[in-house]
Symmetry: C2
Subunit: 409 residues, 2 copies
């Protein structure tokens, strides 16, 4: 029996925002939710207890990275992702599809250069001989970024790896194309992503039947909608994937905040209302969270918040600060007086500034706890505002305080 | 009023081992104890809650390092060391005397090369133009190892800095000389250390009177016995420092396990029984802990256990292993099945091996928790064995299991 369900409990009239619950074998996830990044089966610098304490509900790991190290077979032998990393809640795996992009056309150019027109050109979206991932219709050939060995990933192998890793929710293997690619390439790429989604469904069903015989729990499969910034392609992609009756849907791509409302709306309008929707590839902007929810997103992930934390970039309710700045050397107040995280309750800016300047690893832990709490807690309060019907007002108030001026895109 | 006391509660006949309690304004320390290294006002990779959970009773920071970064004035403004680092227990500071050695004659040669005859020669113990610390009778001139700026430390300034940093227990400023230095140099150095100890006492008393007027708590001063491997010098040093009636005593130097019994015994026989004794400069050998206690040591510190943890060197009850070794990739047992630390209760060798190979910072945290628990807990069980009178038996049994053969030095 499939021990998996999604229930919408509240909707926000005048928007596509909703609150709900995803039920998995490892527990329930209240949505909207910010899932915590655990790429290599660890939430960087944090223990699972810290993740729980700061409100983390679910962890998202990456199939490509775990395939390379330690190997999906080892995660399987350990009893699956959650048990391997001592996390007693729900887990997701991303399929490796994003690495087709980041190690492919975006490799060594930077994501912005191949994704955003103000920073890149369509010439950047062309393949080069240096890239580590090459796409063909059957799958993708990677050269490992660790040791150069050649690896092959196909829709079937991604499903096999994800069943081995054993997260509660899998993503279909897709091609994340550059939005700057030519119309011809985007068309071919989308057809490929759809063919792969179908192959993922077939392989996923086969593996589920094998697992069911052994009385093992169901692992859900979410499809990934592509189509760059083209309304026709996005709606077509959402309709096609909806027809496959998947357990949920990811919205793939690379987005600037101003692109989120339209793109997400096109997709959300086509997808079934009773399935959860995940925004893959959000940026590091807090406004993305409000915009995503407003246009129908239920689950988010983004590693940028903890990456910035490790560089001293700290989110506060009035904007971002760099805690390594000399002006904080003698500042004996918390990072954010409005914040209830462990770091803000127990440490001063001066101390965290000292830890960064002294290259002490506790700096990264304390800053990551704060930033991750910040974003997890923000999505929690967004959920509450949907439930009590104040979402739009909360959005306006929060973003005006955050940006220091009324928010418009 | 001085809110500081030391009480011996149990002695072990036939040895100099004893159990007791050091009372400080920040709480009691049950001895023998392994104090946790917090050189730069942080226990590397651990939160203070983790240190408490693994049984840490007291933290030892370093005056030289805190003088450089963030500055003793900032620690003072933050409310003192314990408050600055969010540690609600007792604290020690080392005086900076060891840096006279490590940045002086030992700089860039390695401590072994200037401390151990089988690895170094007496020529190594000579000063060079490259060293960052130069000693004269009035004090020490350092070139900062961070930015090259010239700094001066004297017995008086070390006391001033330590009162600013505000630990419960200070160490007198001494010269830690190389045991390979010439007899003439060792004589001069010991006279200097004694003159400095006297100056420390005078300055410490002056600062205590100032603090007492402001109703601030007493901070204890422990003297540091030197004299290398020379019985006459060691006994003379202990007697001289005993005559100054300090609050406790450190035994300075750099020791190999086989040197501990004699050297510590010479000193312990001369020091007053009602004052605690700290072994500065123990190595990374678990046998040092048994030998130190047997010959009268009450408190220990050593950063080698956590440093080794960060390199994958893990202590178990049957010896040391390197957890990064390929043979642990599929080992789904805990690091040490006999260990009750957080790491051993929740993680496998395979997972920790993965974290190290993936360069994930949680590796250092989990390994540090284990090694620090290992050594803190070992000294706790040594204390218990003194109380129940089984110390010598416990020592023999433990070390035979650890080394795989009966322990002799």
């Amino acid at each position: 029996m499939k021990d998996y369900a999604f229930t919408v409990t509240h909707s926000m009239p005048g928007t596509l925002a909703r609150a709900g619950v995803i039920h998995t074998p490892h527990g329930d996830i209240k949505t909207p939710v910010f899932t915590v990044g655990g790429t290599k089966a660890t939430v960087k610098t944090l223990t699972p207890e810290m993740v729980k304490e700061m409100g983390g509900q679910a962890v998202l790991a990456n199939t490509y990275h775990l395939m390379l190290r330690p190997g999906a077979d080892i995660v399987e032998k350990a009893g699956g992702l959650a048990k391997f990393m001592h996390w007693d809640g729900p887990t997701f795996t991303d399929s490796g599809g994003f690495q087709v992009f980041s190690l492919g056309v975006a490799y060594k150019k930077g994501i912005d250069a191949v994704a955003h027109t103000e920073k890149g050109t369509s010439a950047n979206a062309k393949s080069t001989s240096k890239q580590l991932a090459k796409v063909d219709d059957k799958g993708v050939t990677f050269r490992s970024h660790l040791d150069g060995q050649t690896l092959r990933m196909t829709p079937e192998s991604s499903m096999q790896l994800q069943w081995q890793i054993g997260a509660d929710i899998h993503m279909a293997f897709d091609e994340c194309a550059s939005p700057l690619a030519s119309p011809k390439y985007l068309r071919e790429s989308l057809d490929r992503t759809h063919a792969w989604a179908k192959r993922c469904v077939v392989e996923h069903e086969r593996l589920w039947k094998e697992h069911e015989k052994l009385d093992k729990p169901y692992q859900a499969l979410w499809g990934v909608v592509q189509g760059a910034r083209n309304e026709k392609l996005r709606r077509e992609s959402a309709r096609y994937l909806a027809s496959l009756d998947l357990d949920g849907y990811g919205i793939g791509g690379v987005f600037q905040p101003e692109e989120i409302p339209e793109t997400v709306r096109w997709v959300a309008e086509e997808l079934p209302e009773d399935k959860p929707r995940h925004l893959l590839g959000m940026g590091n902007q807090v406004s993305d969270l409000f915009l995503g929810v407003e246009y129908g997103i239920d689950t988010f992930d983004c590693i940028a918040f903890t990456r910035q934390a490790r560089n001293g970039g700290i989110y506060t309710s009035t904007g971002r600060i760099n805690i390594t700045n000399a002006k904080f050397r003698e500042d004996f107040t918390p990072i954010d007086a409005d914040c209830d995280c462990y770091t803000c309750k127990n440490y001063t800016r001066a101390y965290i500034n000292h830890l960064f300047r002294a290259n002490e690893m506790l700096a990264y832990t304390l800053a990551s706890i704060h930033n991750e709490y910040f974003v997890v807690h923000l999505v929690d309060t967004i959920r509450e505002s949907i439930i009590d019907g104040t979402f739009l007002k909360y959005k306006a108030t929060y973003l005006e305080k955050y940006f220091g001026k009324p928010f418009t895109i």
